[in-house]
Structure formats: C-alpha cells, structure tokens
C-alpha cells in the first residue's frame, strides 16, 4: 500500500486525547506521528498490522476466534456473579456493548475509575 498521510488523527494514549496528530502510514505500520508527544509517538509507532499473537487462546492453547467466543460465553453464562472490568483502552462503542452484556449476565460492571 502507498504511503498515506492522515491529518488530525486522534491519540488515545492518555486522557488528553489530542486530535491534531499527523500520521504517516503505509497501512501496515505508522512511520511518523507528527505533533505527538513522547508517549504518543511510542504508542503509535509500536503497533503494526502484523499478526504477532494468535487470534485467540483457550486454556493456554491456540484456538479459533469462534471457539474462543463460544467458550467465553459458556464461562460467563455459568458464573453466578461475573465481573466485566476495564474498558479504558477501548472505544465507546465497545464500552456500550460491555454494559449491555453485563446487564444480560446480571453481573458487575466497573472501570479503572474505581481503583
């Protein structure tokens, strides 16, 4: 893929959520993050499109995404009081799904805020 420049990209490393970053990317790797701070640069340049990790793991063994989703649903459904925790390094759209799932499960939902 050709080198592409993305203007006014958003950095989600810290709570400042700077939205004026200029990213130089080839679709597989970000080569340059203009205007980003030290933390933001490290955040953008350390992620690549390579498949570094297995798609999913169940009991420490590599597994397919479908099998992992099914196993996760079983474990959550069997539990008496499941806990949904975290939601910091993710999007609001995913957070919305998490709260809906906690509602369905009759579980607890909590974020980093309570630490």
């Amino acid at each position: 893929m050709d080198l592409q420049v993305i203007d006014n990209a958003t950095c989600t490393f810290c709570g400042c959520v700077c939205d004026d970053i200029k990213l130089h990317t080839d679709g597989a790797r970000i080569h340059k993050a203009e205007k980003a701070c030290v933390l933001g640069k490290a955040w953008f340049l350390n992620h690549t499109a390579e498949a570094q990790y297995p798609a999913a793991m169940v009991d420490g063994n590599e597994a397919s995404l479908e099998a992992a989703i099914e196993r996760a649903a079983e474990l959550l459904h069997e539990a008496d009081l499941p806990l949904v925790y975290g939601m910091s390094n993710t999007t609001c759209e995913a957070q919305k799904e998490c709260v809906a799932m906690a509602d369905r499960l009759g579980g607890i939902v909590d974020s980093h805020t309570s630490l």
């Binding site: 679709g27 597989a28 975290g86 999007t91 609001c92």
Partner: protein, 319 residues
Amino acid sequence: MGGKVTCTLGEVKNRADLIIYWGGNPAECHPRHFTKYTLMQKSKFLPKGRKDRTMVLVDIRETKSVKASDIFLQVRPGKDFELITILRAMIKDQHISDAEIASTGLKREALEDLVKRMKSAKFGAMFFGMGLSMTRGKHMNSAALMTLASEMNAYTKFVAMPMRGHGNVTGADVIMRWQTGYPFGITYNRGYPRYNPGEFSTIDVLVRGDTDCVFVIGADPGATMPKPAIDHLAKVPTIVLDPHVTHTSKLAKVHITTAPAGIAASGTAYRMDEIPMPLKPAINSPYPTDEEVVRRIHEAVAAKPEWLIEQPQMLHSQV
C-alpha cells in the same frame, strides 16, 4: 457531569489565568497539557499567553512539573484533605491555628498568598491527579477539592477537573452513566443497576472473592492490581480481550486478540473534559475490533437460557 463544577479545556485555554495542578505530574504524564490547554496558548483574554497566567503546583515531592510552575507548594504526604479544608476555611476568613497549618508542612504566608491569588484571579482552574485521588482519603479528597472549587465561585469563576490517565477511561464513565445512571462500580445482580463503590468496585470484589468469572477488556489488572486481587483473578475463569498477550492473558482461560483502538479500530473516545473525539485508524489489523467480539460474545450468551426467571417489574406495575 455528576454535579461537578467544571468546563471544557477550550475554556481553560482561552480564559484561565490561574492554573492549579494538585497531586499530578503533567510534564511527564500528560506532556501536551501545558502547551495545548493550560499555559502556553495565547487568546483574546490572555494575549500574552504564559505571562498572563500563574501556575501553582501542589504535590508531595519535586517532580519535573515543578520547572513549569510559578509556585510550588510541597504538602506533607497524606495531608491533602487537611490542606484543602484549611484553604476552604481561609477563603471564608475563618481562624486557623499555627499548629493546624504546620501539620500540612506549609507556611501561613504561602497559604495566604495562594488564597489572595485565587480570589483575585479572573478564572481559576484546578486539575487533580492520582496523587490526590488515590492516596489517603481517596474520593473524599477529590470531593473536597471540587467543593473548594464550587465555594470559590462566591468570589470568582473557578472550576476543578480530574487529570484522567489511560485513553478512554472518561468514556467508560460517560457510557456507564448514560446506560445505568451511575459512573462505575455497578451491579445488575437483581436485574436492575445498583451503585456502591467499595462493594461493587473491582478490587473489593476480587479481594473478597465475590466474583466467579472475570471479563477483562482494555486493561491489565494482572500487572497493576494488589496481590490478593490477582490471586483471586488467577483462581476464577478469566476472559481477556486485548491487542497484546498481557500479564492477565497468562492467567486467563480465554484470550482473544483484538485490534488496538484508535490505531486499527475506529470509534469514539472521550477527552478528560468529556468531549467526544472520533478516532481515525491508520493501519489495517488482522484482528477483529473489541466492539465486534463483545457483541458476538453477548449474542452467544443471549442464545442461552435467561438467568433471571422473573424479570424485574416496572414500579408502576407493582401497585
């Protein structure tokens, strides 16, 4: 906004002539906070930028942020609540004994000077970090500082805002408030949301061993939580969604690799002043997004029998 006396960072950038950072180290943890919002920007109301602003730093030790500040107040560790309470009293010209001031590790003159500056400022903005909200007193410290900000409005415009870490943690508060009416520490175990931090907050739930399955997304409690909490996390089945194999993934029954938000996954993230920002992904990840995986797990759970036989009734139908 949960009753907070606050504003957006845009207002701070354009109007705030007194900036107080309390228990935080923005120079190292939020490096662009000074230059984008609080100190360096020039505006219609502050044409000379940095020269028109005063920055006060309150912390227990000298961090790199001291260099950026005009006034540094080194408070004795664990005495933040006392110091805030003293300031609240001094603002109302109430008597404070020398011993009470000495217990905070500061001098009367320094506090009198600060009170004078706060009252004569046109627009004061206080930013508090984990040095205030996560030390002795915890949320009571934050509540005291927000009360100080609200009481200062009898004299001049004043606001207080937390310095949020980790990307979209503000979004989590906003989404939970929107969906449940509460910001965090919520249980649905009676079929409707109830809120009680200390009872339903993660560390307490884990340390007491109340939960029997943990779903972790966008966090690594295995690296950050106290040991008794991690011990329980390792005992119960844990499911992790993360772009990397984390410490928590190693303790987990199920790990699913997802696309990193904002880099390979699109969506929305909230800035610390609760302004939503669209994300612009720059790379194509081979992994699915968090949103898609959570939705599919939710659908798989929904296909199973309902756990609550009788659904909670609406109040009007109970009469």
